[in-house]
Subunit: 248 residues, 2 copies
């Protein structure tokens, strides 16, 4: 559940504007389109053989991801990569595996900063209903260790549940955006994560700290969990040399 706009199981062919936007983004990333020389509506219409309406919606999608700037009369311009909306699952899906790998590390860094504190806050204010739901999700995960995809769905829901305890829409949104972690990491590792059983044990530790209303314990347990998470991630996809001088 909580699948957002995704369809149940079939991949569901995306709409034309989304497909074209994907193509264009890949071309921009590959350097095929130099900055500031983005194609116009007519260019897109001609090149992809789509109507101007579709070309137009394509540009609107790219604009909503802060990939381009579009204004009446002015030519469309590509914005600096540093300002793109890397929290959007759509954009992530279009990026090459190499960049996604980097983003996974950066996402993890963010989670390390936020989630231990969220767990501590949750421990101070968690309700019995939330604890029940967490318990249920742990059980479901334990039963899904053979199905990594489904497991990661529940995993995400478990972390979201803790985040929700903070009753903060901004933090909610940030963590919710991390839902692409599952899909992306699957794309990068291309294999079932090894440590699902250990993850379940770690989730249980977090849960027990919450039951005990122990902020420090919850924080520590979450920190351990994330740290283990990270090492399996690294182990699966090999070492990535950190990019240098990417900005500007």
């Amino acid at each position: 559940m909580q699948r957002g706009q995704e369809s149940p199981d079939a991949v569901k062919v995306r709409t034309l504007p989304v497909q074209v936007a994907a193509h264009l983004t890949r071309r921009i990333v590959s350097g095929d389109i130099e900055d500031g020389r983005a194609p116009s509506e007519l260019d897109i219409s001609r090149e992809f053989g789509v109507s101007r309406v579709v070309a137009r919606e394509t540009l609107k999608i790219l604009a909503s991801l802060d990939i381009v700037d579009v204004a009446q009369g002015r030519r469309v311009v590509v914005r600096p990569r540093a300002e793109w909306d890397y929290l959007s699952p759509l954009l992530i899906e279009w990026l090459p595996a190499e960049i996604v790998g980097e983003l996974l590390q950066e996402l993890h860094q963010m989670r390390v900063l936020l989630e231990p504190e969220l767990a501590a806050m949750a421990a101070a204010s968690v309700t019995d209903e939330t604890l029940d739901r967490l318990r249920g999700e742990i059980d479901r995960m334990a039963a899904l260790e053979g199905d990594p995809n489904a497991y990661l769905e529940v995993d995400h829901e478990f972390h979201m549940e803790i985040c929700r305890a903070a009753d903060n829409r901004i933090l909610d949104r940030i963590m919710y955006s991390a839902r692409w972690l599952g899909t992306a990491s699957r794309r990068v590792t291309n294999e079932a994560p090894a440590g699902l059983r250990r993850a379940t044990a770690e989730h249980t530790e977090i849960y027990e700290a919450l039951v005990a209303r122990d902020p420090a314990g919850a924080r520590a347990a979450m920190r351990r969990h994330l740290s283990n998470n990270y090492s399996t991630l690294l182990a699966e996809k090999g070492k990535h040399t950190k990019r240098a001088a990417r900005r500007r």
Copy 2:
């Protein structure tokens, strides 16, 4: 600089779809539109006297903010408020001052979790060029204490500069989204913040800790800064009773 898609000073009349989207969002928030009964393209077209193209783009905007779900054949449905994209300046602009006030608190809570650590990380790896820019921004702020709007622009840039030192696109994006803080807080407080001079002093403290490459000092200075920031925010707009039982 770094103004994104905003025009220099004039408010620049927004496009028709944006205006209509604003209207609809306000109506949804006010409860005028019951959940799951969003107007169709034709409804919008008729009610607002716009073409179907505009009605269509309106729905696409709302969809990109996760306010509604739209799919072929199915009627447009309003999504749960908890899942809206509260990181979007567009949405913030359309929300009533009361909710914006709450969001400002939640945003601040997020910053308290992230920024002190960002400052500590920056202290460990900051370059001389970044220090130069920070120095320049402090000077500019000192000269702009009479112009709160311009001051807050540079203020945001100062914090972004520190964030950038972490070389993390995810964190960048999160902090970048906080750029609506300036506009929103101005809408809420409706007055020039009192403590600009103190803010400059605090920025200088952070800067000096960075110059000294002192992570702990930078973390502490940033924490003090945010805490002071928060009290002036609270003082200006009076106490807000925290909403209860908002979810679901």
